[in-house]
Subunit: 436 residues, 2 copies
């Protein structure tokens, strides 16, 4: 098994051979075998063990066991205890989900602070088949049927080609010690049912089930790859990069041979899940929006507009008196004294210094905001101004206001306010330029 | 159920509503329900029943039953008896495979002779889930996981969205009669095991299993469609139509992002199954060939050459004396008397009529063939001639010889033989032209 393991590493993960690896170890046979194999293959590993404090003395026993294991393997070990039940209750998620979140968060934290290159976990072929069957039973797609990925970001699962049987045989052959996990079967209802009832029946029908499954998985991974390739051909054809994100021409999307399926592939990486709604945007009125956790897709006149849901939105930034260059998240402001008005464009305005009330503020617009557009008589609602200027929703949303007290000085990059304009009586002219 | 059935037909198979349909009926509940539903939906159906003579009296009982059914539904019925066991033994295939072949062959025959537009079969959602699980257990790919197709050429399965439970409930509700199939459980080992052991366990885990599966299937069908779309984008980029089939530039195939997966998709419709060999052609020496049942893929110098495995190859065609226009499978020959030699190209030669010995023959070349190339001194092996002319393997294979007795008159479309050339002494000049 060691030589098969080494060969697999060399073929698939040769870059890991000389790197620093954090190995997730529960104390169970899978992770113990993985630790031994890595050590024998000469990899630079450290162990990481989570104590979820879910099984009292047994959890403590696991912890002592992995300490001894680290000792025997002469590797570093990191151990962290978690209040898993409290965390699960606080976040209203299952114990399993909580343990999973806590584990991966801590691993990632360890990895960043201590500069590990990769995290290894001991998932094997049976885990993978179980996952795929669970996905199939619950309803899934191509991705769900390819199961646990061999590589996911910095997490690598080098035991995926090995069966539980192979792993246990190796452990017995090498006379390794490990801990049996007696965790409450009811929390693992689905997986245990698949493991103990479904898979044995399937194995009676095909004793080579795991080998067949490995081939199936490889075929599905190739199919998946082809779809990825196809989408990377289509993306630049239908999408255009914009200041606010991307726009997608509705007509081009509709002209594709399998519009709905392509839209699923195009938008899934932006976190969208409501596929009927996403697809429905093609036929809906301008202004309709579908949200994902991180993005929003807006129906424009002839486009779908994709923008990040901005975390900046409620913030108000201030600009103090006498600052010359002010760098804020949306862009840079530069104040300079000027002798006279020059020709300007949308990114430069000239102000009467004495009319400004410092500190100035920069904020997003709100319903009800109004200003006195320079070059016009009287006041106008910002919303009306945007409408007349035919701004798209993301353009509106990305628009910032420069304010003096409650008054708007500049709809940044669009129009100055007449109240702060330079007049014959102006003593001091301020030139203000903005770069996004 | 009738309204759901009508809706499904209208949405998916509206073209069938006014056509002539042949409905495969075993006498089991599925096909009986399908027949009733079709009749009530006002479709123009006739029944077709196969008696496989595998269950003695029971088979006879089925036959009488479907006769009565046709009577009650006032539809035409076709019944055919088969010697299934003898057929299976003769072809060395399983009884199930034999029944399947006999059934579909007969249906297609009936369809063609009696001008039916479609064949309906009564496969339902449970059949489909069983098929997918069997495929998964045996090892499969994306296609195997999408299961039984709704439409396959002229065969349509309009009950696929319905569960066995729905169908039986409808049958009981309408007080329909049907026949229970007691066919030998051992020949249906796999399917019965999946139906009676696997699926019940899965249903305990997810009572909505069939609905989830329908969604999974629709996702996989979309993935499958995307791959088809992608391949239809790639095909014209890497393939060039040739007289003998297609050529594929090796460099272009190698430059694709997922060469192996694309090659699988490109060549599977030509019947290839030996994927390692097909992919291996990219790296192999010119001349290497991989065969499918219908095609062959040949490694050329810079291309892969795809040709049909020709059924013409061993045939010898004859051309009688005094025929002016002779149409043969490979092309048309036209004989005309000529006064003098004209300028000619590869498709026209001039012969000394008196040197020919009729009937002439047209055949493929064989190892050992030689001729006296016009314009050269002495004789040359055909194989050497081809090599010197740098012909590709499919070009060689598609090359025909015109012979007079044992002597070669013309390597058609390439070179005439000097022995039959027009001389000063020629009495009668024959102009022979060839159009592929």
């Amino acid at each position: 098994m060691l030589s098969k393991f080494k060969k697999h590493l060399e073929e698939q993960f040769s870059k890991t051979l000389t790197r620093k690896i954090l190995l997730a170890v529960s104390g169970g046979v899978d992770s113990v075998v993985l630790a031994h194999l890595c050590r024998q293959a000469g990899l630079d590993i450290a162990l990481a063990h989570c104590n979820f404090n879910l099984r009292g003395e047994e959890s403590e026993g696991d912890e002592s066991f992995v300490l001894e294991l680290a000792d025997a393997l002469e590797t570093e070990i990191f151990i962290e205890g978690f209040e898993t039940e409290a965390y699960a209750a606080g976040k209203k998620i299952s114990i399993q989900m909580a343990a999973r979140e806590l584990r991966y968060n801590w691993f990632r934290e360890l990895r960043e602070t201590l500069q590990f290159d990769y995290i290894f976990t001991a998932h094997h072929a049976n885990d993978n088949l179980e996952t795929v069957l669970i996905n199939l039973i619950r309803g899934t797609g191509l991705e769900g049927l390819t199961g646990i990925p061999d590589v996911n970001d910095c997490v690598i699962r080098p035991l995926l080609p090995f069966s539980r049987e192979e792993i246990e045989k190796y452990a017995r052959g090498q006379e390794l010690q490990w801990r049996e996990d007696s965790s409450n079967a009811s929390t693992k209802y689905f997986r245990n049912k698949v493991r103990l009832e479904v898979i044995p029946t399937l194995l009676e029908m095909n004793p080579q089930l795991l080998e067949s499954f490995a081939k199936t998985r490889s075929h599905l991974q190739q199919s998946s790859q082809l779809i990825e390739d196809y989408v990377s051909v289509i993306f630049p054809k239908v999408a255009k990069q914009e200041e606010y994100g991307y726009s997608f021409k509705v007509k081009l999307l509709q002209a594709l041979p399998s519009t709905k399926a392509v839209m699923y592939e195009l938008f899934k990486s932006f976190g969208f899940t409501e596929w009927e709604d996403v697809h429905g945007l093609l036929e809906s009125q301008p202004g309709k929006i579908v949200y994902s956790k991180t993005h929003r897709l807006i129906r424009g006149r002839e486009d779908l507009l994709l923008t990040v849901v901005s975390p900046l939105e409620d913030k108000i930034y201030t600009i103090k008196e006498d600052e010359e260059v002010v760098m804020l998240p949306m862009g840079t402001f530069q104040f300079e004294p000027a002798e006279e008005l020059e020709k300007s464009d949308a990114s430069v305005i000239f102000l009467d210094r004495d009319k400004l009330q410092f500190p100035l503020t920069v904020r997003k617009w709100q319903q009800g905001d109004y200003f006195y557009p320079f070059g016009m008589k009287g006041k106008k609602k910002i919303s009306k101004f945007f409408k007349d200027e035919k701004l798209s929703l993301p353009q509106k949303e990305n628009c910032w206001l420069l304010c003096s007290g409650q008054e708007i000085v500049w709809v940044i990059n669009y129009r100055a306010d007449a109240r702060f304009a330079v007049e014959d009586s102006t003593q001091e002219i301020l030139r203000l330029s903005y770069t996004p």
